[in-house]
Amino acid sequence: MRFDRNARRRWMNWIMSALALLCVVVALVPLGSIIYTAVTFGGHVLSFSFLTSGYPLACSPTPSQPTCPVGGIGPAIEGTGVLLALSSLFSVPPGILAGVYLSEFGRGRLGRSVSFFTDVMTGSPSIVVGIFVYTLFFLFFGPRGVFSALSGAVALAILMIPIVTRTTEEALRLVPNSVREAAYALGIPRYRAVLHVVLSAARGAILTGVVLAVMRAGGEAAPLLLTALGNPFGFQGLTQPSASLPPIIFNFGTSAYSNQVAVAWGAALVLIIIMLCISLTVRFALRSKLS
């Protein structure tokens, strides 16, 4: 009897482990396929100069000029860097504050409506956010102010705020109440307890949320096509259109010229690598901080 139960348990354990492994494999297939395709089609253009040089001109191989210049994505990398920095600046402070409000103070009507609008923002499609920012800038700055680095950063920030808010809120809710009580019992005022004790206890999870938000924004093309638009030179000032990675993947990817298509694949690969690096750096930093 006893032997039977053990055998069954081992058997079940084996099946469940196999199932779990299968699920992991299934989940990894798309990722593997994406990376494989990006490397196959874009790997050969990668080089240091690819990261720094300007976009390639449209060019088809001809008998007199059998190879086309590859060019690079320097302007897009510069633009994406500036856009992400600006949008983080616009979204991280309000996002964290809203999260703190929801978790620590937000009871009653105001808390519920902040929470509701955060959900709405999380759910709004990025293209709609793009249209919203487009309209907003059109109303305030006229047709010449619409396509600018500033409007692009605002659009990305709107996408990032709800992610930062929600992860901050969740992270703070995971901090046990006994920690807050310990702080109050020392005669520490509430705002200081929240700022120095509760937030610090949750800083790892909050940082993860910020990174998630940056990665989400970094991969967005649709709202940028309506706002930052793109330019061949990189970042040209806040009020000028700005280049960035996702839109050039879209633009060059649909180009008729093979050298530009190759650049689109290369840009896709670079985008994936950048995101991976950000994520790994933060994980690594968190781990070494905690130990």
């Binding site: 006994s178 009580e181 109050y184 019992a185 020392l186 520490i188 206890a201």
Partner: protein, 261 residues
Amino acid sequence: MVEGALSHEDPRPTKLRVDGLSAFYGPKKAISNVSLDFPERTVTAIIGPSGCGKSTLIRCLNRMHEVLPGTRIEGRVLLDGEDIYDGDPVSVRRRIGMVFQKPNPFPTMSVYDNVAAGLKLNGIRDRARVDAAVIRSLKQAALWDEVKDAIDGPGTRLSGGQQQRLCIARALAIEPEVLLMDEPCSALDPIATAKIEDLIFDLRKTYTLVIVTHNMQQAARVAEFTAFMYLGELVEFDRTQTLFEQPKQKLTENYITGRFG
């Protein structure tokens, strides 16, 4: 249950006076009309069966009860004759410290920062002063020898008993006048318990202590006065020796002799 204020006949002045105190969680009354006096520089033990309201009572003594939503109190608590419920809870808690039933060190803070938190977050920047307070408190809490080499390591890496002593050190660092301890030894081994009891004995010279305990031997060892609570009411309050040897109430006698139920 007992008529009149349960006051001690003691020459020392009253540090903390509880006057007709009732405490509620929402509609539920957890303690009812408790009055007692804690004389200055004494240890008072609060004993009673689980759920009788010991934690609730001491949480009312430094206004920690009101931290929970939906709670309220009736009655007064006087510190040096002034109602602590009149002013600002924050300044009350600086004068009346607390050690909780479960150890609750600040996560992500080092041992040092845990102890220094009360000073630093109350605006004391003087590094030498904070250092001295941290070392003094850790020594008082009988933890210094165990952590002096790992003072910058995380506080949560300590054992449960060490964490509790860390919390005691943290409370001592701000030098409160009254120290409330909710079963400070419930997570400790006999050796650490003996250290804490020695500590309580020493602290009595400067602080007024209130200690909740389930351990009647402990109450007998460290406390000059003992209060016995039952079902949210204060049944008897007297010198510890009197309470244990000649209890006036039948309930008290039943509880301390283990005949209960």
